[in-house]
Symmetry: C2
Subunit: 579 residues, 2 copies
């Protein structure tokens, strides 16, 4: 069975030595979030997660969710752990104090999210969607809505969902058909069917709060005619107690490749009562508050699975004896190709962690920084990094899970080792909250052009500023990769205006190249921080891993960018009916 | 549900236009194997496979195999299809006529193997191992053994297995412990446990012939002390009828990520009676006859899954409406990133098919060519290509299955579409019959140095000879990639002598670069053949796909080779205990 030990030393190192998370406590409102306090909370969460959630990962996969007569039974242990986790206050840890949260940084919430996802990504969806629903209502709801729903979501007494997708409307939300008909009392009756609704039905919380996209009768067609509604499973009486069952039902659940412990529901809104959140026809904007944070959350799911795959592969490679290596070693970690796989896993996981944590710190600054220009700058970073965190961490999760299976050999294919589960769980991450192709299009189409190209310029400038203080073996190749990325970025922006197909055809390669340069910067900072610390063995391992990254991964940037700059005309003009 | 239509036009094109399979009929003994005859047989097999096997793929995955009390129940429909398939003569199609086969080319057998694997790779393992067992006994057995076993294996009245792996002996067969104790009557009693035995137990054939690796009491330790034995499930009486149950039992089956329809058995040899095949202590050599062909077979499993993933992704992309593309198209095949994925899948699948079929044709020539030097040359090609076919086609199967899921979006993760199954089924191909890392080591360590480096030289020369007659848009980049591959090959051979860790550390990248150059050559020949044919639309699609391959995949060769030439000293000297 796969086992999980929270990488506390590495988390502390990235937060405090690499990224200087001490600055979080200098943000207004976060004065208590000192490194000592955060580390203490992370240690405490880690203990609970390692001891009580991680053991449920394999059993929940084997057991799955069971649907019967509009109800869903979750895997054994999930409800008990949910209750314990919620009561300890972890769900609301990063939510506003005025609505029942602990008011601590988003960054802390995300570090805990990483650990939760390593232990069970299926379970993490129940708490993650609840946090997402909180954020959507907090950003757009009326004061009454906030007071009604947020404290219950922060404590996990109620859980949340995000009801967007319909059979004909997946990537294309313009096609959403669910109808919302206004009622005399100011409420709406929602009618329609939604699919792929994570955590859509269960009985582990007292109520479920659906945050749903629907269309008013007089709304324009397409994307500009959507509004958002809050639709509780049980109506709420004036005194806050739960009232009648609202006719929003789970009618079936999906049988999936992985995340078997997470219920994926088809929901039927049968004139269910809802209340509009935000203004009419602003549904897409309202939803995107939640969606952008959900994308970062999915990136953390990827990071959590990268870590799980990596640490299990390393443990196995240090135990499994098979043949003699050239260097005389008798465990497989001494075979060069296995060593190569381990270093690749480390290089990606540790580099991706810096990307993910840094993005979370920018989210905190974007809300809490005293200075408006600091908030604006932080928001630019969040906007730029969101597709990278989502795309790179999740593609890497599939890659690294597959690599971990390869380290285990034939045993990796057998369920009882728990390694193939990582690969099955990881694949969904590349699909939901916008496929990774859509992330890449978001980067190319929106993030490169927003504010006249200011976002990537901030990145180029920041990396360049660090080049001089970085170790030469990274700085040199990084400077070169950065230059090529900058040139190609210019090409993409220009080319997109006249022939968007070209840029779009190469967007996935562009996003990967961008991510690799970002990780190059991270490795520069990792080595710098490790060298400055007092642990020589730790620093030596970081240098070897950085060298691996530079020689064998950063080196892929030129050929990826070459792909990007190729014309797609022939490919797009080809008659696809002959394929 | 995934559907399968045999790509008959493409198969015919590759065999006859690209590779000139007409020459098979000029090999002594294969006079009847004309293109017309082969195409007729392929069409006939395709009909049976499409209609009766493909529909079992999803149901057999859902149902799996069930173990109870030393017996294994296979998924519904497998036994019936096996009987029909065997009775139609397909199992023995490429086996020698004197032992009950049809005596047709191995190439024909492999084309049918591709189709069988597209339809159900789980099912294909029952017939594939039976053919492998046939080949091992045919190559090493006594005349009596051949007469006893081969006709029954050729007709599928009996099936075969390959019993190598033990818990402590996976990649490292030197650690095999199963004991074979000689008896007065010339037989041996085998005692020990084997794991991961495909098709180890079932009741769909009258008998099961285990081909097992074991150690004689007086044998040297390690790899040179192994011998091969044939151990039938039921002993065979002098008159050929079946006798007593031999104590070789299935004691459990594995629960796996995929290939649920294939039983993977732990076998207990409890003083089971066996007969030595070949000379004492030559087990590894005897096993490798079977193993090399098994590796090619696994490559065909990969090819079959590449085809299945590709054709389903194309069909879905032509049906699924979602958003408007820049070019106005409303099915997702018009979105550039989806188009990119489809072309990538086509470029790999069609290019890999040429590699796989060409290798099969070399196998035929290696046995049947009249001229000894022609047989030797063909054998060189088989030796060189085996790791490429196994490694590249199976890595590609996982890649392309993952890409197909991506084309389907969230729907790809749902079991009922049958696409995630391809990804689950594909992963084992990278692991069994030698992990792909072992394939890459075989290429670097053995195939590059064999006969003083003659094997890669044949490849370089053959590609170079074709450069002049190829379309310029392929020839130019191919010539450059070839030159770099040649230089790096020289580097690998030299470096391997003094610092084998360096070459071994980069072996997987080297194998990928070699495979991409091979596919570049294939695309040159595909375009040449299509241009020479009369179908302009067909030729146009081939050109677009070739252009895609050259611009976006062949272009990766330099950075892969750069990886290969990097030193691994730091990585190998790092203290892995600190990882």
């Amino acid at each position: 069975m796969a086992s999980y030990k929270a990488p506390l030393k590495e988390i502390d190192f990235v937060l405090n030595q690499v990224l200087g998370a001490g600055k979080l406590a200098r943000l207004p409102g976060f004065e208590e979030a000192t490194p000592e306090t955060l580390n203490g909370l992370i240690d405490e969460a880690a203990k609970l997660i390692e001891k009580e959630l991680a053991p449920l990962n394999a059993s929940s996969d084997a057991q799955g969710c069971v649907y019967s007569n509009r109800e869903v039974k979750l895997p054994d242990g999930f409800a008990e752990f949910f209750k314990k986790y919620a009561e300890a206050g972890w769900i609301g840890i990063m939510q506003k104090q005025e609505y029942g949260g602990a008011g601590l940084p988003y960054t802390l919430g995300k570090v805990i999210e990483e650990m939760l996802c390593s232990a069970s990504v299926s379970f993490a969806l129940y708490t993650g969607l609840t946090q997402g629903c909180f954020e959507a209502i907090a950003a757009n709801g009326s004061e009454e809505q906030k007071n009604t729903y947020l404290p219950k979501l922060a404590t996990g007494e109620w859980t949340g969902t995000m009801c967007l997708t319909e059979p004909q409307a997946g990537s294309d939300l313009a096609a959403v058909k669910t109808k919302a008909t206004p009622q005399a009392d100011g409420s709406y009756l929602l009618e329609g069917g939604k699919i792929f609704i994570t955590s859509g039905e269960h009985t582990m919380a007292d109520n479920i709060v659906h945050f749903a996209l629907a269309r008013l009768p007089d709304s324009p067609p397409g994307i500009k005619g959507l509004s958002t509604f809050v639709v509780p499973k049980y109506l709420i009486n004036a005194d806050g107690s739960l009232g009648a069952r609202n006719p929003v039902y789970c009618v079936s659940i999906e049988h999936k490749m992985g995340i078997h412990g997470s219920c994926t529901c088809s929901m039927s809104f049968e004139n269910a009562k809802g209340w509009m959140v935000g203004a009419p026809n602003t549904g897409i904007q309202n939803m995107f508050v939640m969606m952008n944070l959900a994308r970062i959350m999915v990136g953390y799911q990827g990071l959590g699975l990268c870590e799980l795959a990596t640490q299990n592969a390393i443990r196995y490679a240090l135990e499994r004896k098979q043949g003699k290596a050239f260097n005389g070693g008798d465990v497989i970690a001494h075979h060069p190709d296995v060593r190569r796989m381990l270093l690749q896993m480390k290089a990606v996981t540790e580099g991706a962690r810096v990307l993910a944590y840094e993005t979370a710190m920018h989210v905190d600054a974007s809300h809490a920084a005293a200075d408006e220009s600091a908030r604006e700058e932080a928001q630019d970073w969040v906007d730029l990094n969101t597709p990278l965190v989502k795309g790179f961490c999740t593609d890497s999760a599939v890659d690294l899970a597959s690599t971990a299976v390869q380290v285990y050999g034939g045993h990796g294919f057998i369920r009882e080792h728990g390694i193939e589960q990582i690969m099955r769980d990881a694949k969904i991450l590349c699909l939901y909250e916008g496929t990774n192709g859509i992330q890449a299009m978001d980067l190319v189409r929106r993030k490169l052009t927003l504010h006249n190209g200011r976002l990537p310029q901030r990145f180029f400038k920041a990396v360049r500023a660090d080049l001089e203080t970085g170790a030469g073996f990274i700085s040199g190749p990084l400077a070169q990769a950065l230059e090529e990325l900058e040139a190609t970025t210019q090409w993409v922006r220009e080319s997109y205006k006249t022939s968007p197909d070209d840029a779009a055809f190469g967007c996935v390669d562009y996003m990967r190249a961008f991510s690799l340069v970002y990780l190059g910067w991270n490795w520069l900072r990792i080595v710098r921080a490790a060298d400055a610390g007092g642990d020589a063995a730790f620093a030596a391992t970081k240098r070897v891993t950085a060298q691996f990254f530079v020689n064998r991964m950063l080196s892929q940037v030129p050929s990826l960018l070459l792909n990007v700059r190729q014309s797609a005309t022939e490919a797009m003009q080809a008659d696809v009916a002959n394929f």
